[in-house]
């Protein structure tokens, strides 16, 4: 499964898809961290995620922490129901900035 990367306004949007599991999440992590290291504001689109495991969530956590230390913007968009449940289990839904969609976020600016 490949993640789809696009640029929308000030954001680099990384769209993950399918099952973000032990095989997929190291790649996703690599990608998220590399864009942040290039000083990009990163949004991770989870709308096509059917399943995300804790390694996937851990990668998001690491990304968010890196973004904060670099004073970059980081957020999750279109969080699918299965992904939301996993985030809720660790109370991370209250930690990540979560937005409905990329368009919504840019309009509100």
């Amino acid at each position: 499964m490949e993640s789809n990367v696009s640029t929308e306004g000030p954001f680099t949007v990384i769209a993950l898809a399918g099952e973000v599991d032990l095989y997929y999440s190291p790649k996703a992590r690599e990608q998220i961290l590399s864009y942040l290291n290039k000083q990009k504001n990163v949004l991770v689109d989870l709308s096509k995620v059917a399943y995300i495991d804790s390694s996937g969530v851990a990668s998001l956590v690491e990304g968010y922490q890196l973004a904060r230390s670099k004073k970059l913007q980081f957020g999750l968009v279109g969080v699918s129901q299965p992904a939301l449940q996993v985030l809720q289990l660790a109370r991370l839904d209250k930690v990540f900035p979560i937005h409905g969609s990329v368009a919504e976020l840019i309009d509100n600016k």
């Binding site: 599991d21 032990l22 999440s25 190291p26 992590r29 059917a50 399943y51 495991d53 804790s54 390694s55 969530v57 851990a58 990668s59 956590v61 690491e62 299965p82 449940q85 996993v86 809720q88 289990l89 660790a90 109370r91 991370l92």
Partner: protein
Amino acid sequence: MDERAPSEAVIEIENLVAHYGDRQILNGVSLTVEKGEIMVIMGGSGSGKSTLLRHLLGLKKPTSGSIRLLGKDITKISKKEIYQLRRDMGVAFQGGALFGSMTVGENVQLPLREHTKLDEKTMQIMARMKLEVMNLAGFEDLMPSELSGGMVKRAALARAVIMDPKLLFFDEPSAGLDPVVSAELDELILRLRNAMNMTIVVVTHELESAFKIADRITMLDLGNILITDTVENVRNSDIERVQNMLNRRPREVDVDTEAYLRRLTGQKH
């Protein structure tokens, strides 16, 4: 691919016969557990519930019968396939079985270290996340001997679910805990199932906890299944032994005069 398709069996036990030494412990047990279901296996000591669990975990080879976990018959598959299957199984043991020489955090991370090549940082975050879920935040650097009984069980549960298994086994979650702590664990089990859609098998002798968490209950007695049914139907069952167990009545022992006398006098034949 519908994740919540009805009647997708995750565990299928067929006609399982098991011995301990010369003694037959399970006399042909058959049981099916559906995906996403919480199945509670109950029974007094000597009912065979611990033996059944050991077989489900692939720690013992049965005399006969088959056990299919996630579609694979663990009595037949190769060691390598069992090793693969273990990534999808989590087990929380009765006494926690945390490794005394490692910190709580290292204990929780151990399955990741053995099975994956994830980044060190990812593993640490995953372990801390699970400890958060179990309300054990900040305890990762303690040794298991520094934890209370309830904390040990929660840490063991964190280790059991670190790989996000499809199948979770929990042996006696309430044993040795006070009612408040044990209610917390019940709550955690329900949350895990709801968030991760795990299939969970709990072995217990605590009625209260069983009624609270179970979708279905299986009652074992002397190596046979008395009943497998929903909580409601188990409560209303008119099987006498089931009611005896629910009401904690000791069982009536049938007296075979001849055999009894022989036992007392020590004659073998």
